[in-house]
Structure formats: structure tokens, C-alpha cells
Amino acid sequence: MTPRTFNDIFGNPYLAVLAATTVIMGYLTVNALMIIWMERKVAARMQRRLGPTERGKFGLLQSIYDMGKLIGKELITPTHVNKGLYLAAPVLVFAPVLALCSLIPVSQSWVFHDYDIALVLLLAFSGLAVIGIFSAGWGSNNKYSLMGAVRSVSQTIAYEIPLILSALAVVMMAKELNLYQIVAKQEGLWNIVLQPVAAVIFLISATAETNRAPFDIPEAESELIGGFHTEYSGMRFGLFFFAEYSNMIIACSLATVLFLGGWHGPLLPGILWFFIKVYALIFVMMWFRWTFPRIRFDQLLSFSWLVLTPIAIANLFVTAVVSKLV
Amino acid sequence: MSEASGLAAALAGIASLKTAEAPDAKSGCQGLHTVGREAIVEVGRVFREAGYMLEMLTALDMRAAEQAMHVVYQFNRFGAPDRHRVRVVVPAGEAVPSLADLFGSANWYEREAFDMLGVRFDGHPYLVRILTEEGADYHPLLKDFGVAPAAAEEAAGG
């Protein structure tokens, strides 16, 4: 079973790249705006508020107005920053997101690109964003930003390990690094049933990787004000913001692909199922954020190294033994 | 009771300490004392050893009547109140020994008294203004520090 790639559909690699970029950019923009709206609504309803109501039906257009505001704002470059790093950071944070999106198999019948080692590529690229965050923190030449950046790096390293280990358990079962094939093999039985521990670890690590509360210590507005993006304004800040929400999409898509059986599901078309699962996971992440207080930095690291990683390794070991026996 | 009498005995040992007779219930205090400024550290030590805290420290501008500032210390213990107000009369412009080594709270209280009324405390580790701006040359709670009439304030404020 092989899907059609964009290359097959358009018959021309350049056209395929162009089309994929357009689709992904368009999707990410709309998606980020919609998730922001969704987040605000979910948060509001959990807190017994109304959330945005003024612009458009149910305030649906609120995010668009907000984006307009961000774009319209003057871009202020503080005088004390390291210009190169400061300006490069928002791009560095946002760029990997674009690349990552094209790897996700969203539908049974076609994908953007079909790589045999897509999972490796995805995990490798997702680690790149931290370079952007670090250069933002360092380049800002601000103590709060620097602390945020340092926290971010150690957090990313700490949570990359359990993330990869839990993904590895799936790979072991599927004997496959191709995301499309991993999904294809889940027909009838989703991996979450076979790998519940890995799924939970993956979700927690993914929340931490995307710097979402309760793991949002690089930003930690009550301690570090805004952390690495304290000094940014206007659309530069907007890019960080978009990157965060786009990262959410990628993390949740990957979780859907690895554990929730991607496009599999009754009645509805596969692509719809895929997005239903992704947005359900995003809702869970929002639910986390609006329920929990923030974890302290040292506890965050020890939670990763002393709890998640050992469990992930044990889980991997059990998976290895069982899949050998079966 | 023995604790209180021990305290009384210790206080009696301080030469310059004068205790007022039976304070009025309205004063909110169980003991009113006046002490020479050289003995205030000794008084503080007595109270500290008896387990009292420095509840309040402030100064009064009595320059109009007696050309002196009064520094008022108020000691209290936890629980049923046994409040002792100790008064030190300082000739205007002179300093009082600091209690900052005995009581942590004295550090800020004395800074406040200095800031507000210009009373200086000898031996205070960091006697700088605490509430008003740095480098100000006034002590606002002194009686001769006037207030601008409301009208002038209004005009200045726009």
C-alpha cells in the first residue's frame, strides 16, 4: 500500500514543493488562528467566562483582528541586543515547523512526501526549534530572556529522550520508520491499546517539547515575565506565537499518527478522522494548561530523568521482549 | 507571672529607666517606660531575652514643645498582650543607638523613622531612606514640613 505523493499528483517536483508549501502555509496560518480562538474559548469556558464574542460569530474573527494588530505594530529592536541573533531567532523558530508539516501523512490516499525515514527526520527537525529559542534568549541580551533560553535548552534535551524512547516502542512494533506505513499497520487496532504507557509518556513529553503549560517554564510569565520572547514585539513576537501553536499541531499530529491510528475510523473520511483526533489531543493539551500550576524547573528536569525516562526504557524493554516472543 | 516579674526585675536594673504608674487601659499598654538613650540597647536586650518582639517603632516630633524628638519603641510578646512602650527622648539632631542587631524588624523600622522624621540611629547597618525617594532632603513627618494647599496642588497637577 503506497499513497500518492504531491510529486505524483503534480508530476513535477518544483510544482509539488510549491503546492505543498502553499497548502501548509495556508493551513498553518488558518490553523494557528483557529487554535488561538479555540484556546481562548476553552479557557474561558473552563473559567466560566465567555471568551471572545465581539468579532464575528462567537468571536471567530477575533484572532484575525489580533493578527492584524500584531502586523500593524512597529517592530522595535532594542539597542542593546545582538542584532544578528535577535533578528534570526523568530525565523529559526518558525522554519522547522514548515518542514515538519510536510512529513505528516494526513490521508490514506495521498501525502505531501513519502519518506522511509520520516520519523527520524521529524524528530531531528523538531529539535531545531530550540536553537531559535536559544538565540532569541541570548541575542536579547536580557537576564530574564537568557534564563528562559537556558531553561528551554535543558528542558528540550530532557524531554527529547522520553519522547524518542516512547516513539521507538511504536517503531519496534511496526518495524517501520515510514509514518504512512506505521499508520497503515494500525488498521483495526490502534497503538494506544498496545502501548498505553508509551502514549502517555509521549503526550507528556510532547507538551513539554512545545513549551506548553504546565511545562512552560521557558516563558514562565510569573517568574521570567516572558522568558525568551520578552524583548520581542509586533510580528516577531507573533512568529513565536505562531510557532508555538504550529508546534502543537505537529506534536498532536505525530501522536495521532503513532498512537491513535491516523486516518483510521468508521464512517467519516480518513482525513476528517485525522483532524478530529488531532484537535481532540490539542484540546487535552489546553485542558492541561488551564488546570495545572507550573512545574518548577528542577522538578521538571527530575521528572523527566527520574520518572519518564526510566519508565520509557522499561516500556521499551518489555516491548522488545514481547515482540520477540510473539 | 514569674516571667513578668523577671522582666520587671531586669528592667528595674537599668538605671535610667523610669516606669510610669499603672497605665490607663485606653493607652493599650501594660507598661510605659522612659529611658535614657544610652540604655535603649540594654532595654532591647532585656525584652529580647524575655521573648518579646519589637512590635512597633516610631518617632514623634516634639520639637515645638521640648526641642526633642521622642523615639517610641513598643515591645510585646506573643499571646496575651503585655505591651511595653519605651520612650527615648532625643535632643533634636542627635542620634539614638540602633536595635538592628537585636531585632530584625528594627532594621526597617529605624530606616522608616529616619526617613520620615530624620532621627538617626547609631550603628544601623544601612540607614538609608526606605519609603521616600532616594536623595531627598526632607523628612515629611516633621511638623515644619508643610503640605501644599489643595488649590496649589490642583494647579500644579493640571
Binding site: 474561558a44 473552563m46 466560566r48 465567555l50 488546570t291 | 489643595a150
Partner: protein, 183 residues
Amino acid sequence: MGRIKEIAKGARSLIGSMGVTLKHLKDEPVTVEYPAERAPISPLQRNAIRLIEKEETPGSHNCIACLQCEKICPSNCISITGYRPEGLAMKRPETFDLNFALCSECGLCLDVCPTATLGYTKVYDKAGYTRADFFHDLLEEYRETEEQVVEHLREADRRKKAEREAKRKAEAEAKAKEAGDAQ
């Protein structure tokens, strides 16, 4: 083993917390959409003061320009000048200005008002660009009727005077009668 138990307990507590937020997700919001809808305000709510219409002086206030409120106000936000109309026992205010920008809504002026003519307005969300926007001329609404009221008060005064006179006369007569009876 203890560690696993601890982790399990922690996870349970987290799920419990999530249950609380989920429960509220379906609750009705408590928000009042302010400019569109307004929450009812307390009948005693303190706002800028106004002069209330009194029954002794129909169509107008009963301020006697005694300046009590001006004197008690801690923020000096009331300024009154009074005058004494022809043939009236009490003064009337000529100007009654409130500088609401200074007001701290302590309500002391209402306490001291001898004629209880001070009350609160119901406007709680007035905004302005300059300080002048918060100068309230409390006599504004009553200026037109002022003459009428002064006339009414004169009338009342005259009537009161007449009554008093009559009463005194009656009393004197009664006394005289009493004295006569006693004799």
C-alpha cells in the same frame, strides 16, 4: 514500590483537578457583558453626590448653604457659595460645585447634611479626558425652578410665620384666659 505508589497518587490528583475544570466547562458563564448588559447596582452605591428633590421644596433641592459638607469633606471637593434671598430665613446656594476627580466617596457629606438634601447619583462609569469633565455643577438641573422655589419658600416662611404668630396669639389668649380663670 513506594515511588510507583507516589506517582500513581500524583497522577490521580492531577486527574481529579482536571475533573474540576471539565465540570466547569459545561457550566453557564458568569460574565456580565458590560456595555451591553449591566449588573444591578446596590441601592446604596456611592457615586458622585447630587442634590435630591425634597418635598418641602417641590421641583428643587433644599440646600441651605450651611457649608457643613464643604467643611467636612476630606478631599476638599465641594465648593459652595450661598446667598440669602429677599425675605427668606435660610440661605440658598448660588453655586454648588463638586470636583468629582478628588472625591473618595466616603459619604461624610451626607452624614452632616442637616436637611438631608444630598444623595448619590446612579452614574458609576463616567469617563472623561480632562479634569474639567469631572466638575459637576449640582445646581444645573434646578436653576430654572430656583425662582419659583424661592417664591414657594417665601410663601412657606410667611405661612409659618403667620402660623407661629397665630399660635403665639392663641397661647397668649389661653394664658390670659387661664390667668382669668385662676382669678
